[in-house]
């Protein structure tokens, strides 16, 4: 009897394994095509936007470039397909794109019912508050009675109401539909506070401040009142491809943790630290296990940079958005970005 159960289990396992096709069809298609097709947003400052020469740049774009580097050893073998938020999930489901790097918030429904999978979290966003510095407010807890500009019919509006109710405060909402108009209303002084996702607040502050005021005259309060974890998505059915995306993000985090940057990666290759040797493929095996070249991390760091470099370049201090690293710091610095070990 026991042997029969065992045999049955083995049979079922084998059937499942065959069903889950290890050498994934999506990855095979990408390799045969010679390019990764990446679904990106249609223009969000710092995350995905075309520069003056029409080249896509941003944090979401770097995800695509890093995955391309892991698969092909070159960061530019990517075709970008700009997708609106209505289109993006069907575009991925129907196979129009291989990978969605589209500022998508991870939620249970999206992860399950849509037949899609999230891989890793590349950016922890959340709803925050933008206030003029002259208001003298240091914390959201001091906003009792404030007039607040908010977009209607979004979770943003609900989060705001929940937060104020939980803290036994009152507020006066100024509800405006279009982002451009909200920004104008805020700067014209029609409300004391503007609330939306922090990345968007930072873009507002960087770009739309009317003279003679300066971006520094406005501050984003430290309180974050909602969770908006953003991450790349893939279809169900090709676990190896999902693994590559997940570990590409982890590799960029690990590299930052061990101080490997695009500038010093060539010296780091000579490092005696066994962890660094494993990450950079000096000690082979990691790439092979993932099904990519053993020098995959070396290539990613050399061509795209580690997570911190990418962050600083597009949304951090080296960009105009100047978003505080906040919860996107490494876990070693008190943030949430934590990568499992590459070993």
């Amino acid at each position: 009897m026991r042997s029969f159960v065992l045999a049955a289990a083995v049979g079922v396992a084998a059937a499942l394994a065959a069903g889950n096709a290890f050498a994934g069809k999506d990855l095979d298609a990408i390799k045969a095509r010679g390019a990764l097709i990446c679904g990106v947003p249609t223009g969000i400052a710092g995350f995905a936007a075309a520069d003056s020469q029409g080249k896509w740049v941003g944090l979401d774009i770097d995800v695509c470039r890093a995955v391309s580097t892991a698969i092909f050893g070159e960061s530019e073998k990517v075709k970008y397909v700009p997708l609106t938020s209505q289109q993006r999930f069907t575009a991925l489901q129907s196979g129009e794109v291989d990978l969605l790097s589209n500022n998508t918030t991870v939620t249970l429904q999206r992860d399950t019912a849509l037949g899609l999978d999230f891989t890793a979290i590349t950016y922890y966003d959340g709803q925050g508050f933008l206030v003029p510095r002259k208001l003298g407010v240091k914390s959201a807890k001091e906003l009792d009675g404030a007039t607040i500009c908010v977009a209607p019919g979004t979770t943003t509006e609900l989060n705001l109401a929940d937060y104020f109710r939980a803290n036994k405060m009152t507020f006066k909402p100024v509800v405006i539909e279009k982002a451009e108009e909200i920004r104008a209303a805020f700067y014209a002084g029609r409300c004391d506070v503007y609330t939306t996702d922090v990345s968007s607040l930072a873009a507002t502050r960087a770009a739309n401040v009317p003279p003679p005021a300066k971006p520094e005259d406005f501050i984003i309060l430290p309180e974050i009142i909602s969770k908006e974890p953003l991450g790349p998505m893939v279809r169900h059915g090709d676990n190896q491809f999902a693994d590559i995306i997940r570990w590409t993000q982890f590799a960029m985090l690990e590299a930052e943790e061990y101080g490997i940057t695009s500038g010093n990666v060539d010296e780091m290759v000579k490092s005696e630290n066994p962890t660094i040797k494993r990450i950079l493929g000096v000690t082979p095996g990691m790439g092979k296990a993932l099904g990519v070249d053993d020098r995959w991390v070396y290539n990613i760091i050399k061509q795209v940079g580690n997570y911190g470099e990418s962050y600083d370049r597009h949304v951090g201090p080296h960009s105009l958005l100047k978003i505080d690293r906040g919860v996107n710091r490494l876990w070693t610095q008190g943030g949430l970005q934590y990568a499992p070990p590459i070993r």
């Binding site: 249609t42 400052a45 960087a206």
Partner: protein
């Protein structure tokens, strides 16, 4: 008429100087009464005030040269933004160093449109102009074009078949045999290709590097969507209009149903259907190019509207024209192409151009499905945080470009209206 003056009447004098020249005109048209005089002055003051403020912003305090948007702040208009971004706004993400290709493609399309707006070209030359113009345009945009043998054979079959129908029983037998031979070669070739006797051969013309439609953007996208949308919608609309007047209930029902269905929904919903729903119905792994899907949606939409315009033209023809054509013994196709359509289309050309102007602007709706037409690339120029915060300048620039196109089309429509009605004017 004679110049003899009746007795007792005084010689006519020239009118007083206050009633002629500039003053006379002003007095007659601007200050004919107290009320009109005040209205004139108020309006002049208002216009002058708006204009001076606008010029102050757009010209006198404007920044024309700056390294980034930050240098513009606190001054007037930031035209430096347009200077920095105009290539992106015009050509989108097309590879930067190859921007001459979309530039020449746009020039080719403009040349094609201008040439075909001349009435002397309205004959067989038109086919040559559009054939060569389209070939150049798409060769420049794609960089390479592969014409497969199946397509060539299909064209032979289609042209031969069309010739046989159009010229049946009115052409000399030699010409008719030529059409038959062409159609025969096409049909036999296609069968052989399907069976597998003929190899899958293609004529590849590839002078430049390949650029996929996903990278197209800006003015070429707007022009291609509008021009080819209308070009293909036109024959489609004619067929729909004829079908709607058909005596066969099935054809009539289908055409009426299609026209009413398409006219009953907004273009946006058609575009969303084409871009979001259609891929879900297709078998997995089969992808139709996003740009092509949008183009087809535009064609279907424009077809329904054009069909209704052409139906108006068909209904304006007196019944005698149809009866006379029948009496001469022409078949349906010949009657329609030789007698009915030339007269019906002449009537509807001005409203057709009006539709064209509308569609030229409507194509900007493709931005909701992530295609970067001219308005959308202008939008994108605002996203760059280095230059964000100057929507006025960008939209004014986009409006100016749209105006140039639409105004020239509207002038052309005016000219055509006069030109085509010469025969009926007294």
């Amino acid at each position: 008429m004679t110049d003899v003056m009746p007795a007792g009447e005084r010689r006519q004098l020239a009118p007083p100087t206050v009633e002629t020249g500039v003053f006379g005109w002003m007095r007659k048209n601007l200050f004919s009464s107290w009320g009109n005089g005040i209205t004139t002055i108020v309006l002049i003051v208002v216009v002058a005030w708006i204009l001076s403020n606008f010029l102050h912003w757009a010209l006198f305090t404007a920044t024309f040269d700056a390294k980034s948007g930050a240098e513009c702040r606190g001054h007037g208009a930031c035209w430096a933004l347009i200077r920095e971004k105009y290539r992106y706004i015009f050509f989108g993400s097309f590879p930067y160093e190859q921007h001459w290709r979309p530039l020449f493609a746009v020039i080719a399309m403009l040349a094609m449109l201008i040439l075909s707006s001349d009435r002397r070209m309205w004959n067989k030359r038109l086919i040559a102009i559009w054939g060569i113009g389209s070939f150049i345009t798409f060769l420049l945009m794609f960089g390479e074009i592969s014409i497969s043998i199946s397509l060539i054979l299909f064209m032979a079959l289609a042209v031969g078949g069309l010739g046989m129908i159009l010229r049946g029983s009115i052409a000399p037998p030699a010409e008719l045999n030529g059409w038959r031979a062409l159609a025969g070669i096409g049909a036999v070739g296609l069968v052989l290709r399907m069976v597998g006797v003929l190899p899958a051969w293609g004529l590849a013309i590839a002078p430049f590097s390949y650029v996929e439609t996903g990278l197209w953007g800006g003015i070429p996208v707007t022009m291609i969507l509008a021009t080819y949308g209308l070009l293909f919608a036109f024959p489609f609309g004619i067929l729909l209009a004829l079908g709607r007047r058909s005596n066969l209930p099935l054809i009539k029902g289908l055409c009426v149903g299609f026209i009413e269905l398409i006219r009953g929904v907004p273009l946006i919903s058609l575009l969303i259907m084409a871009s979001v729903m259609l891929p879900l119905f297709l078998p997995s792994g089969m992808n139709i190019d996003k740009f092509l899907r949008a183009q087809v949606a535009v064609i279907l939409f424009a077809g329904a509207y054009i069909a209704e315009i052409i139906r108006g033209g068909l209904q304006s023809l007196p019944k005698g024209q149809f009866e006379a054509a029948d009496a001469v013994g022409l078949n349906y196709v010949q009657k329609t192409t030789l007698i009915i359509l030339p007269q019906a289309l002449r009537v509807v050309i001005p409203p057709l151009i009006n539709t064209f102007i509308g569609f030229f602007k409507d194509t900007s709706l493709v931005l909701i499905i992530g295609i970067f037409d001219f308005l959308n690339t202008a939008n994108q120029a605002l996203v760059d945080p280095n230059w964000a915060g100057f929507p006025g300048e960008v939209y004014l620039f986009a409006a100016f470009v749209y105006f140039c196109f639409c105004y020239s089309m509207s002038r052309y429509s005016k000219y055509l209206e006069i030109e085509l009605n010469k025969g009926t004017r007294r």
